[in-house]
Structure formats: C-alpha cells, structure tokens
Amino acid sequence: MKKYRNKSLSESISTIGSMLLFMLFAGCTLMIIAVAAGTYSRISDNFDKTFGASSALRYISNKIKSSEKAEIIGSGNGIKLESGNITNVICFYDGGLYENSMATDSPNDYKGEKIFELSGLEIASDGDWYKITVVLNGEESSTYVRRGDFPENQT
C-alpha cells in the first residue's frame, strides 16, 4: 500500500515537472516568435520610412533637375515645374505629397494624385539652390538642388 502511495507521488511529481518543462518550452517558443515578429516589423517599418522620406526628396530633386523652369508656390509647400508645354505642380497637402501634370496654359485647380505620405514639406530658395526639407514621422531630412530657373528661361 505504501509502495503504491510512493509510486503515485513520484509519478505526480514527474508529471508536474514535465508539465512545467513543457510550459517553459512553450513560453520560450512564444517569446522567440514575438522577438522574430518584432524584428520583422522593425525592418519592414524601416523600409516604409525609407521609401517615404528619401524617395520624396529624390523624386522632387529629379523633377527639378529635369525641368526647364521652377517656381516655388504657396508658402514653400510646393513647386511649379515647367518643361516644354507641360507644367507639373508638386505640393504638400493634407498629409501627402500631390502631383498634377497639365498643359502649361490650362488653368487647373485640381490638386493632383497623391504620390507619397508625408508630414511636411518645405522648399526654400537658398542662393543658387533650392533647399528641400521633408518631414516624416517627426524626422526631418533635407537636400539641396541647383535652381533650374536660368536667365534665358525667365519671362
């Protein structure tokens, strides 16, 4: 009888120990999965951030480089670019960067298509350059681009 009691006690201790071991294993596994998910989300966020701010900067600067005439509009939250008979208006509005292409002489109030999500845009004239500053998620990045408004193109 005593033997049986001892046996059942050892069995229950063994079972509880195994359960604890299993729970430890399960806990560690879930923790590792959570860490992996966190790493993935960090890398993915970094990608989204990169695509937002620096791409917007490169996009605007490439547009300026490929235009014949550039003119800052509004209070510096947009730029009007003329190239041939096409006018491109790139401006910041309601949390996004919008672009509208139209024929130079056509009056158009349409704000255009949203191309990037942004928190802010500032284009300022600084000597021979335009200083473009983009704000996304509280982080500011800026770049300089040579002014495209050469004397010959000025009307």
């Binding site: 079972t15 299993f22 294993f25 970094n46 620096s54 770049t143 300089y144 040579r146």
Partner: protein, 152 residues
Amino acid sequence: MSEEVISLKTKHKGSRRPINLFFAEIIIALLFFSISGAVILRVFAAADEKSRRSARLENVIIYAQSLAELYSETGDIEKCAEMVWDKAVVRENTPEHISIYLPDEKTTFDAYEQSEKTAAGELSELKMVFTAEGSEIYTLTCTAYISGEESL
C-alpha cells in the same frame, strides 16, 4: 512469487514509458530547434545587417547629392560641408583632403579634391567617399567649373 514480481516490474515500466518518451521527444525537439534556430538566426542577422546598411546608404546618398549640387556651383568643399552639416566634427583638413565625422558618429566622410587650371578658368574634381565600420559605403565623383572671372 516470482510471477508477481515480474508483473509489478512490467507495470512499473509501463507507467513510466510516456514520461520517458516525453523527455526523449523534448530533447529531439530542442536539438532540431537549435539547429534550425541557428540557420534562422543567421538569416535574421543578414536581414538586420542589410537593413542597417540600407538605412545608412539612404542617408549617405542624400548627403552626397546635396554636397555634389553645392560643390558644382561653388567648388568649395569646406563651405558645402558647413551648409550640409552644422555639427560635424572635422578630423583632417588639408587643401587636397578633408575628413569629417558625420553627426551619427559612425560614418566618416572623406573628400579628395583635384584642381586643374585651364586658360579660361578652373576645373575641379571632387571624390567623396563615405565609410562606416571600416568599409566603404558609397563613392561619388562630381566636378565644378569656375570660369576665369569667378575663379580669381
């Protein structure tokens, strides 16, 4: 008597079998998990390294573009560096070479300048090298031409 002992032993063995199997399984699982975990960890490390490198490259490209645009008009790298980085630490500054620690304190910027006087002005070439953790991240070469009256 002996039959009773045998039957007890068998019963004893039979009741412990699932526990033993559980331990054996957990050991095999841990072994497999550690092997696959090592491989997965390497993939994660590579992804993380790529992501860091990419973030650094992205910043550096924006700096390089700004510097190139400024240098193309002025031909003066010191002035350009001042305009781009307000709080950069200058490591070395000679007429042909300027070395700067970028604000992130992990990236170094080296600029090598070569000037050639022509009959009408000065043509200068600037090679920008961005280095982080001992390896080169990005190199860009740009040129400035300052005509006679302005270069004087």
